[in-house]
Structure formats: structure tokens, C-alpha cells
């Protein structure tokens, strides 16, 4: 038991590396928030554009969405991170991580929002249009509020799953939790910082995972 504590919860190492891990937590939170806000907005925007049913545009959206759903995020991160500097575009590693995760989240969010829009019965469209709403008014006031409501549980779960990928930042040197923890581990020769990093993720993400679980049982409209 003592050996276990010495290996994973060594008090003086906790005290020493706590500030580093905290810095990592702040970086993770910053990137995560930026990804969630930008990804969801872009996804919603794409779903709205798709509902205008312009064939060429929709094909492009579907290709974008499919590609970012099929490719592993780490693969895209590496292509962007190692490829762009060689063609003269230098963007910092945290921006690479933000950009890639935003696009991945946007792709998944578009698909979910679009399914939500499709699930609103046609009669709602017709009724709204016949009372004098325009296309945008119908979409904004009648269809989207209903569509977004059904999509809350799947969007929450997907957003959490994609936001957790901020840990991939370690691979390209973004100073988020995992990279702080692994470098502290190699400096100290002890697994305590890694344990601290893992716990930091648990503390950050368990509330959202639990929220997702709650929303799934509470909010989901039953389809029979």
C-alpha cells in the first residue's frame, strides 16, 4: 500500500508539479471551449445551409462531413501540423489542434443537426409557411427549436467524446494536461504526475459525461 502511494500519490511531487498540471488544465479548458463553441456553431450553420437544398452545395457538405467522420483526428492533426509549415504556412500547435477538432466536431454536429431537422414532420413546415412565415422564419422559429431539442443528448455525448481529443495535443507539443503530465513524469521518474493528469481529466469530464447520461434519459423524445 505504501509502495503504491509512493508510486502514484507522492505528496512532495504533487506539491511540486501541481502548478504545471494546473497550467495544463487551463490550456485544455481554453482549447475545449473554443472547439465546442466554434464546432457546434459551424455544424449548425452547415445544417442550415444544407436545408436550402442546393444540390452542388449539399454534395460538398456531405463530402466534408463524411471525410471528417471517417478520418482519425490524430491523422488530420499530423497532416496539418507537419505539412503546412513546408508550404510556408506557420500556425502554432494549439491552433492546429483547435482547427482540426473544430472541423471534426462540426462534421459530426452537422450530421446530428441535419437528422434533427429531417425528423421534424413536414406538416410543421407547411403549417408555418401557410401562416405567412418565410423559409428562414419557419426554419428559425418552428423547425430548429424542435430539431435542436431532440439532438441535445447525442450532441452532448459526441461533443464530450471529441473534446477529450484535446489530449492528442501531447503529440504535437500543445502544453495541455497530458503533455504537462508526461513531461513531469519523465523529469521526476515517478508516475505521480501522470496520475494527477488522469485525475484532472476525470474531474473535468465526469460532470459532462454524467450530464450526457442524464439528458439521455430525461430529455430524449421517445420514438416508438
Amino acid at each position: 500500500m505504501n509502495a503504491f502511494l509512493e508510486t502514484f500519490f507522492k505528496p512532495n511531487l504533487i506539491a511540486q508539479y501541481w502548478p504545471d498540471i494546473l497550467k495544463g488544465i487551463l490550456v485544455t479548458i481554453e482549447i475545449a471551449l473554443a472547439v465546442v463553441i466554434c464546432g457546434l456553431l459551424l455544424g449548425l450553420l452547415l445544417a442550415v445551409i444544407r436545408s436550402f437544398q442546393v444540390k452542388a452545395v449539399n454534395t460538398l457538405i456531405v463530402i466534408f462531413v463524411d471525410m471528417f467522420r471517417a478520418l482519425p483526428p490524430l491523422v488530420i492533426v499530423l497532416i496539418v501540423y507537419f505539412g503546412l509549415p513546408n508550404v510556408g504556412i506557420n500556425i502554432p500547435s494549439f491552433a492546429v489542434l483547435w482547427l482540426v477538432l473544430t472541423l471534426v466536431l462540426a462534421a459530426f454536429a452537422e450530421e446530428i443537426f441535419w437528422a434533427g431537422i429531417l425528423s421534424v414532420p413536414k406538416g410543421q413546415w407547411e403549417a408555418a409557411r401557410s401562416t405567412g412565415f418565410g423559409f428562414l422564419g419557419t426554419l428559425g422559429y418552428i423547425v430548429l427549436p424542435q430539431a435542436v431539442r431532440i439532438t441535445v443528448p447525442p450532441i452532448t455525448n459526441r461533443t464530450v467524446a471529441i473534446t477529450k481529443n484535446t489530449a492528442l495535443g501531447m503529440v504535437i507539443g500543445v502544453p495541455e494536461i497530458l503533455s504537462q503530465a508526461t513531461s513531469a513524469q519523465s523529469f521526476s521518474g515517478n508516475a505521480t504526475p501522470l496520475m494527477m493528469g488522469a485525475l484532472a481529466y476525470v474531474i473535468l469530464f465526469i460532470p459532462v459525461v454524467a450530464l450526457g447520461r442524464y439528458l439521455e434519459t430525461r430529455f430524449a423524445w421517445r420514438r416508438s
Partner: protein, 221 residues
């Protein structure tokens, strides 16, 4: 434009990297054949435990599942691969990956199975049991077939996520598709090998992603 093609779609470099990348692909396929069945079986186990009669067991399992859904898989993998050796437990990259994937993907599959099993009416249980089927047979031949059918899109979609996730094994130097491609990149100073790997992932997964969209739409209507 030319620089862009040279950097990302350099056919010469791609063809030189191809043998290495194909070796990686083979490793990825083997890895998938290990971790997907492991996750599917583990997930069923997690689901059954999370539906146990005892409230304590049920809650303990749900906490465990949420724990493993909250920890990023890469964190779990690095903890197992480079943290556990400090406690005297040294695992090979493959074992570490298998263990991390077991814990992570079983949690996700488990939640999906659970939703599926809950979607089958209680009456099905009672009816099956009253016709003389024992608990095991009821589960295996009455409940699960319906449950799996109800959540098939989610199962397929999670499997795609698992295949994509195998790319993080590159971080612990398991020579799978991304690792081999990245090695070729670091030798050639050119991103084309990774683009080649991306193309391979696309060829493998794009049809499945399309299939999922279709399945989801059919379930919705």
C-alpha cells in the same frame, strides 16, 4: 499550388513509402481484429453488470463506465503503458493497447447494449421465461437479437470510432498504419505518406460511414 502537391500528394514519395505503410495497414487490421471483438464482448459484460439486480453492483458499474468515458483514451493508454511500469507492471505495446481499448471501448459498447436491452419490453422477458426458457437462453435468443437490431447503427458507428482510435497506438510505438506513415514522413520530410495513410483510412471507413447515415435515417423514419 505546385508546392502544395509536392508536399501533400507527392506520388513518388508515396510509392516509396507504400511498402512500409502497407505493413502498418496489416498491423492495424490485426489490431482491429483483437480490439473490436474484445470491446464487443467486454461491452456486453459491462451492460449485463450495469443491469444487475443489486443496486450497489449497478451503481458501481455505472460509475466505472462513466470514469472510462471521461478519461481520454490516449491518457488511459499512456497511463497503462508508461505509468504502470513504475508499479512493476511492464506491458508490451500491444498488451497495453489491448487493455486500454478493452476498458475504453467496453464502456462505450456497454452503454449501447444497455440502451438496446432496455428498449426491449419487460414483457419479452416474462413471456420467454414462462415458456420454459432459462435466463441464459432468454437473453441469448430472445432479448439480445432484438436489442442488437434496435441499436445496430450505434454499434456500427462505435466500431468505426474504434477503428479510428487504433491510430493512437502509434504514440506507444506500435507499428500500425499511422506509425508507419509518420515514420516515412520523418525520413522524407514530406507529409505525403500520412496523406496516403489518410487515403487508406478513407477507403476503409467511408463506405461504413455512408452505411451508418443510411441505417440512422431508416431507423428514424
Amino acid at each position: 499550388m505546385d508546392a502544395l502537391i509536392q508536399q501533400f500528394f507527392n506520388l513518388d514519395i508515396m510509392s516509396r513509402a507504400l511498402p512500409l505503410v502497407l505493413q502498418g495497414l496489416w498491423q492495424t487490421v490485426v489490431l482491429c481484429l483483437i480490439v473490436i471483438p474484445l470491446g464487443l464482448i467486454g461491452g456486453l459484460l459491462f451492460a449485463l453488470v450495469s443491469l444487475a439486480r443489486s443496486r450497489t453492483v449497478r451503481y458501481a458499474m455505472i460509475v466505472a463506465i462513466d470514469f472510462f468515458r471521461a478519461v481520454p483514451p490516449l491518457v488511459l493508454l499512456i497511463f497503462i503503458y508508461s505509468g504502470l511500469p513504475f508499479a512493476g507492471i511492464r506491458l508490451s505495446p500491444l498488451t497495453a493497447v489491448a487493455l486500454a481499448f478493452f476498458l475504453n471501448t467496453s464502456s462505450y459498447y456497454g452503454e449501447i447494449y444497455r440502451a438496446g436491452i432496455e428498449s426491449v419490453g419487460r414483457g419479452q422477458w416474462d413471456a420467454a421465461r414462462s415458456t420454459g426458457l432459462n435466463a441464459f437462453h432468454t437473453l441469448a435468443s430472445v432479448i439480445l437479437p432484438q436489442a442488437v437490431r434496435n441499436v445496430l447503427p450505434d454499434l456500427v458507428s462505435n466500431t468505426v470510432e474504434v477503428v479510428k482510435l487504433t491510430s493512437i497506438a502509434s504514440v506507444v510505438a506500435l507499428p500500425e498504419l499511422l506509425y508507419s506513415a509518420d515514420m516515412a514522413r520523418s525520413i522524407t520530410f514530406n507529409a505525403s505518406p500520412i496523406v496516403l495513410a489518410a487515403a487508406i483510412y478513407l477507403v476503409m471507413l467511408w463506405p461504413v460511414v455512408r452505411l451508418i447515415s443510411r441505417l440512422e435515417r431508416r431507423m428514424a423514419s
